[in-house]
Symmetry: C2
């Protein structure tokens, strides 16, 4: 079976950090993983590529005629065999910012991505606006389950709630929300704030990643924290997410309905 999950959240909240670490851990247990970066910032898979540069699909198709396109030019094999793709985005001010995502999905399909036999596909998606290409991974044929990454900061909780609205408006009826990932900024009352939100929207907090200096260290080394510091508290939290994805795959964990708060409830 294939499980497809999307990681959404406000820009800078830690989506790529979460995605790369979770992909690493899943691959370490033998899963065949594909991670697709769906943020115009195109830095989702950096920590899995051992310093190699990745060509975005959007740039690639711009300069490569259809007959010359090959899957291996845009799907790079990273540590532990995680397969990495970056959608890229158009130049700011020129067309829809999410355009790279739609082009990427079409291109990968045409070049035969599904023959690669993945166990897990992970989409790392910008969540500041839920529209255009950024809403595409929410379609039924893509994300089976959606994780929301947030901190205690109002801006990120507001964005998470917005993403829930997008999920509810996009594909009604089928429960698609996997849960909330608290990535701690290290502020006062952070846990309380996110727990109150999680309770109000009736979603589980799947992991509570501590704010840690190890992230910067791993980043300087161009590696994931899970690879360099497997015994750290942060790594243990990423393992919870990896385990949760596996339990969704095996139907042991449930996906939930999206119940966003209205403006008044957001207080």
């Amino acid at each position: 079976t294939l499980i497809q999950v999307a990681v959404y959240g406000k820009g800078g909240i830690g989506k790529s950090t979460v995605s790369a670490n979770v992909s690493y851990l899943l691959a370490e247990t033998g899963q065949k993983v594909l991670q697709i970066g769906c943020d115009p910032k195109h830095d989702s898979t950096r920590l899995l590529l051992e310093g190699r540069e990745q060509t975005t699909v959007l740039d690639y198709i711009r300069r490569t005629p259809p007959y010359d396109r090959r899957l291996e030019d845009v799907v790079l094999s990273g540590v532990k065999g995680v397969q990495c793709v970056e959608a890229g985005g158009p130049e700011p001010g020129i067309g829809c910012a999410g355009r790279g995502i739609l082009s990427t999905f079409e291109t990968l399909k045409n070049l035969g991505i599904d023959d690669m036999g993945f166990d897990v596909k992970l989409y790392d998606v910008l969540g500041d606006v839920v529209c255009g290409g950024f809403a595409v991974p929410l379609r039924n044929e893509y994300a089976d389950g959606v994780y929301l990454v947030t901190s205690g900061e109002f801006m990120s909780v507001y964005a998470a709630n917005n993403i829930l609205k997008g999920i509810r408006n996009f594909d009604k009826g089928i429960p698609r929300v996997a849960g909330i990932i608290l990535n701690q900024r290290g502020m006062e009352n952070e846990s309380d704030i996110v727990e109150r939100f999680a309770e109000a929207v009736r979603l589980p907090i799947v992991a509570r990643i501590p704010r840690s200096g190890l992230f910067a260290k791993a980043e300087s080394a161009g590696r994931t924290l899970a690879e360099l510091y497997p015994d750290s508290d942060a790594a243990k939290e990423f393992e919870k997410i990896a385990a949760h994805i596996m339990s969704i795959k095996d139907d042991r964990a449930e996906l939930l309905e999206s119940r966003p708060l209205n403006d008044a409830q957001m207080e």
Copy 2:
């Protein structure tokens, strides 16, 4: 003469705080000011409305037939006579997130906004994606000058650079950038980071707003910091921005070209 300025920056960076405070100060010196919130979060003018709720233009036109629409229903008069408008945005996942902005500009024009004789129009615009409606204020007939609000955090500097790309791609040739507003997060080396960026893109830092607990206090009182704490350091920085806008209006300060950094330079 009329001067139109746009305040762009990453979500949560302080655009609305800057906008409301600057509008207040300009109005206090006798300028007739219009502030238009162009963020789906629709909270730009909250601190100028003394607790009153503002109907967004998008919501208003959805439920009001064209013949019944009146300017005073969407343009609210705030403290010191600042005229306030909120564009609003569509439901997430349904259409272009910036749709409220285009609808707002058309509606205001049709209802006669230009007969109100403004000295300053200030657009407070979401800058996480520079596309669709969010790019509209960059058009020549709108913003004469654009301010970029940033902190020392990489995410906000990256967003500022992206906005510069949007400006360059959108209306080539005419210098449109007013400058950078440093809104301090209170992190290490913040000033250095933003100064190096400002130098690299050859833009002035127009103001350096300190991180201050007075913002939360003013916010709890539902007022701008400039109104409640006019002698504070933060208020003095907002005065610099107000003065800078006036000097652009009087042609004493220059507008600059947009020279964004490429990926490599962004280091």
